[in-house]
Symmetry: C2
Subunit: 352 residues, 2 copies
């Protein structure tokens, strides 16, 4: 069988490019891809991704490490299922396996042993927080220069690569949408602040208030844990503050759906008396009554991009014998509004 | 460190039982579990499931092989996400990893190479069909006596172990629910018949008709592929047969939701003119308008049970050095009705 070197020479590209094309990893110009595939075909060069991984003492697996939360069916949440679908698609295309592993939230986790024991060749971390034990565990991967990406969580340490969505923008747009309708006293039901994405949402909310010349009022902040149950619980606090609220923005759809359920049960009309906007554009958003206005987040694309990035680094490392390391490896995808009925009001219905 | 043999002697149980307790695999009497844990504690015996797997040249992974369907986000479907959540929970408790792999539907798949190369120690097959290539690939695992289970698909070959839901019963109950309201001409929108679960649903539907003394009418059968889109497409055929239909039973919620959407767009009232019942009790069922009557299927429990069964066989094989092999290893979980509004009618509204 021809060698990778011969294919590279015939196609007029680097050996690394041959690897990337043959492993179907990373963005490659269509023209380059065709040149490589033609050269490979002429020389009878084939690559079985898994077989070649094994030959190198590799597992052929991309590890995905998830928080284990008792009683929560992670795959059944829109957030994780979409990210995992994106990861799964990219991993499938590359002919690799996806090894799911659970960690205890808030605890140290020995990612490096997964690499040492060849259980995984590359790692994606989902649902990570800024809690010190978690950040420390992740930092160790950066120091060891193994191929990994964190999804939807950023750290100050710029050696930690991540794929993010622009939650500052999403939350800004949601609050601005309410403010633009003349609503002024906007409550904000946010998730726990050990997620950078919660902190980013708070920043976006504050920026929208500031632009509208409205003072930030801490007493209009409510906290949940991104579950529907915590949204129902938040309804009690929202109802107690009802005479000081024109609308509520929520940090995800599940909390918004719980909140709407709770305030509707108390006889308060949504959006009539209290417009509500969610965040995520989950499956349920279009189905509930009233249909939920929300912020669209490209979770599937985030998962796909993170998997492509990490496999691209793996291929580069295989080809060049050294990790990427250099450069800022933070990728940010945009968010946008998806307005339905729950956030829309007419002046006449407002009680201000 | 004490040996497993010493723990077994002190607890008065077999070494296999010690393994099962320490690996947290399979059903164990609480009293036995306590005896083993106390003996282990007294003797300072610890077991790290993954470490012990590696010591035996094992991967510590349960493989889950899924069909790859382009453009379908498998994790985002209620069916797969629930089964995977159940599998994930059991695998997490046992300290093992879950290796997701994709196969091409309808093609041969080399499951045994996953065992030979130590990528997995046990295997679960999801979304399998009765197509000959698929059955042949799965039969090879039975012949090789490796630990595996098929989920929600049964084969005539009794050496193939499976965890099933009683879809014959579920579909019987759905049709009977419509018949009990005096409706007689029941359409049936089923999925592809290369799934045993589709064939079982057809049997249940036919049994309900027979009990009600109604002749089976093949022209009232409609076919989809379990997608919402195929439900919308089926609406056209249902509308063409409308003057011969009192109600429609569907083989899953997504097809039912698509069907309802299609017939409502044609101005036909559901349930007023045409009661519809779905199947699965997915998240969306309670949210749509009208709320969907459906059949509840314990998908999460099926996934969990399949994972527990296969890990129990793995533990037994480890402990006793030989596979289980014997006995009928088909587990069937019950289904039940979840009646909401889409299937309910009053005599006055019927057009018969």
């Amino acid at each position: 069988m021809a060698s990778r070197k011969e294919v590279a020479a015939l196609a007029g590209v680097s050996e690394a490019t041959v690897s990337r094309v043959m492993n179907n990893v990373g963005p490659i110009k269509e023209q380059t891809r065709r040149k490589v595939l033609e050269a490979a075909e002429r020389l009878g060069y084939h690559l079985n991704a898994i077989a070649s991984s094994f030959a190198k003492g590799r597992s052929g697996n991309v590890g995905v490490v998830l928080p284990h939360v008792p009683k929560v069916r992670l795959f059944s949440t829109f957030y994780f299922s979409e990210i995992l679908s994106g990861i799964g698609e990219a991993v499938q295309e590359a002919g690799m396996g996806l090894l799911l592993l659970y960690r205890e939230p808030g605890m140290e986790y020995d990612y490096l042993s997964l690499f040492r024991t060849s259980r995984i060749d590359a790692c994606l971390v989902l649902g990570a927080t800024s809690l010190p034990q978690e950040e420390r565990s992740i930092t160790r991967m950066a120091e060891a220069e193994v191929p990994f990406y964190v999804v939807d969580q950023r750290y100050e340490d710029r050696r930690i690569p991540s794929v993010l969505a622009d939650h500052e923008l999403g939350s800004y747009l949601a609050a601005k949408h309410l403010l633009d309708q003349g609503l002024r006293r906007i409550g904000f039901l946010n998730g726990t602040d050990y997620y950078s994405n919660s902190r980013d949402r708070l920043s976006g909310y504050r920026r929208a208030l500031q632009e509208a010349g409205i003072a930030f009022d801490e007493t209009l902040l409510f906290e949940g844990n991104y579950s529907r149950k915590s949204g129902i619980e938040a309804a009690a606090a929202v109802l107690r503050s009802l005479d000081r609220l024109d609308a509520v923005a929520c940090s995800n759809d599940r909390m918004a759906i719980g909140l709407i359920q709770g305030i509707k049960e108390a006889g308060i009309a949504v959006p009539g008396r209290l417009p509500v906007i969610g965040y995520d554009d989950s499956d349920a958003a279009a189905f509930i009554d009233p249909p939920l206005s929300t912020v669209r987040v490209p979770f599937y694309e985030m998962g796909r991009l993170a998997a492509e990035q990490v496999m691209q680094e793996l291929a580069r490392e295989s080809a060049e014998g050294e990790p990427d390391g250099g450069g800022d490896r933070v990728r940010m995808l945009p968010t946008s509004l998806a307005i339905r009925q729950s956030s829309l009001t007419t002046k006449g219905e407002l009680n201000r």
